[in-house]
Subunit: 392 residues, 2 copies
């Protein structure tokens, strides 16, 4: 068997293994997913840092590796702190030393960072100045890419597993389908950066992503396990996904927007309306993003690899290269989903209004009883004063 | 007159001019300060980018400058949006097109960023790959330093002008006094990075900063103009600083912590207590930070200049160099103050509790009247249910 074929087979087998692994991790629940995100983050960081190390060909550089890892830990403490504090507020407030870590969380993070900064300045050695500064910048860019993204991914997971599974799968589907279409129909080169990519693969992959993405969303929409936001249940001592599904995941009747479409639907006996999960519309936006912009993450990564004359980011996954080679497009997607949720899900839905009130109320309940009472009276007076509340 | 002396005089004159200018801008009020911050930010960014341009010695690089400025505008839109939205909520909600810019602010920022990202990928040209990626990273690090800092500075200004004036002046005082002490008493070299800095300057500058910082804080504490948080007054159509000063800026009686100190104070006829503004304690922390850690910002900058073999960041200020040369230490300070406020001022003070309630209430008032009413009833029921509220 030729090397080329052997490589195809290995690549195929490991693709299947990874997809299966992904399924198992999802079955393992949110905690398993978060731990996986963390592990992937650490591996990606390691790969990026190792490339920096190779590019600048320095081995005696004092403290560089320790400093990089130190900054990784510091920034994780900062971002995870910001993230998890709200969700675990109840548990955290019971444990004294944890409370300190949380109350002064920003200050501690800053002090840790400043310590790293001072350490860097003190570690500067005359003949290495330029390399040290370059690698310092390199580390910070790596942190920016890796840590902030994994922070956003974890935020998405808390919104409900569906906000994690659907986008991640879309990128995977797009990768695979673009490859398949390119393999069978590929003729027109797409971009100079990646000579193997073709327009046929890009378009075919895109259309498949939209269709398969919608199908997948339709199925996943029906399980509370996937659609409910994750909450920490104090009674059970673990994270739970149980709720009355939000309106996004309950079938809604939509009137078709144009007359032509309405006539068409009447002719089909559909009464000019269509019933579907509102989430499918969001799924559509995500699939369009993942098939149009997603590939640019890949182009960026291949440009990067060419710039620094490396073949792959690593060699952890046989047939695929490093972890970064497989996750290059996921990074843009995670940010997109996060921004999308905060812009369209948290503001536009009718349910948002309720969630907003809930958010405010939970802040009130975090106050001391006497403050709650005082706030209540202040609110009552204000509402009376404004004529909103009329007490007899 | 020798060149060296001429330089001293020019430097001295421009130091005075800058200090005077600073005073005038403060007199101009918060808007003038924010505009200045923005201008300084843009100039610093320009200087950093120009150095990148020089270091990589490329002049035909496609789109690099436009891209950098594009990212600067995008990130400013993002950060200023996040910042100013809350303060100008009332005004913004009245203007329809502004409301769109605000409601979908994150999404728009993200789209703008993605456009820049795609533009970068499309602008990649084979023989420049490595330089283009290096400069892409360079631009991002510059953004990280410049834009996030000016965002934090503006946040500090909103907390009250004192949180801006005191720390900025401390760094200036520390710079000047370290120079003066070094000039007269400097013998022991401090750090290899900056051969001209001495331990005597470091220590003398530090002590002067603490003393002068406390004195200055004591004076500034007494003016509402400086201590009141900045609010946008709809009636006046401008930003105002008028309030009942928070307890930080009202003299408080403190019991001296140890018996020795109490005896000493009794002997002086002080009754074992000391009366002062609580802000002075915070001023102390800030002055310690600015004199111990502040100089490391300067060391970092001189290391950077050595690494890339440049003398100064620019030549805008005669005798001083570029704007970055004068603001290098301010950057760490701004972050410190911001974190300090969020960790110690917003949480630990007795007034905090009130502010917290105020924050919650202002969220309530942003809801629609019927939602406010509904929230009120939900809160009433919850408080009754918990036995906090007893209605007859």
């Amino acid at each position: 068997m030729s090397d080329r074929w052997r490589n195809w087979i290995i690549r195929g087998i490991f693709t299947c293994l990874m997809v299966t692994g992904f399924g198992i991790i999802i079955y393992g629940g949110p905690l398993a997913l978060m731990v996986t995100t963390l592990v992937v983050q650490v591996k990606c960081f390691e790969e990026i840092i190792n490339i920096g190390y190779t590019v600048y060909r320095i081995h005696g550089l004092p403290w560089f590796r320790s400093l990089s890892w130190y900054f990784l830990i510091t920034s994780n403490y900062f971002f995870y702190g910001e993230n998890l504090m709200d969700y675990f507020a109840v548990v955290i407030n019971r444990t004294d030393y944890l409370r300190v870590l949380v109350t002064y969380h920003r200050f501690i993070s800053f002090c840790l960072y400043i310590m790293g900064f001072v350490w860097f300045v003190l570690s500067l050695v005359k003949k290495y100045y330029m390399k040290q500064f370059s690698l310092f910048a390199w580390t910070h860019v790596a942190l920016l890419i890796v840590v902030t993204q994994s922070y956003l991914i974890i935020q998405n997971i808390f919104e409900g597993l569906i906000w994690f599974i659907v986008p991640v799968s879309m990128i995977v589907i797009n990768d695979i389908m673009a490859y398949v279409f390119g393999f069978f129909f590929g003729r027109t080169p797409l971009i100079k950066l990646s000579p193997k990519k073709t327009w046929e693969g890009f378009v075919g992959g895109g259309i498949s992503t939209v269709i398969l993405g919608l199908l997948m969303s339709y199925v996943i929409c029906q399980y509370r396990y996937f659609v409910c936001p994750i909450e920490y249940s104090e009674a059970l001592g673990r994270m739970t996904m149980d709720c009355e599904p939000s309106y996004l995941f309950r079938p809604q009747e939509y009137t078709l927007p144009t007359e032509t479409l309405q006539n068409l639907s009447n002719w089909l006996g559909w009464k000019g309306t269509i019933t579907m999960y509102p989430f499918l519309l969001h799924s559509l936006s995500m699939s369009v993003f993942s098939s149009v912009i997603g590939p640019f993450g890949g182009f960026f990564a291949s440009g990067f690899k060419r710039a620094f004359k490396i073949k792959d980011f690593g060699d952890v996954i046989p047939g695929h290269g490093g972890i970064m080679d497989r996750f290059d497009c996921q990074y843009l997607m995670a940010t997109f989903v996060n921004v999308y949720i905060s812009s369209f899900i948290h503001t536009a839905s009718p349910q948002k209004l309720l969630q907003q009130s809930d958010g405010i109320l939970s802040q009130v309940y975090n106050l001391k009883p006497e403050q709650q009472l005082q706030l209540f009276y202040t609110l009552r007076d204000a509402l009376e004063h404004r004529g909103i509340l009329n007490t007899p």
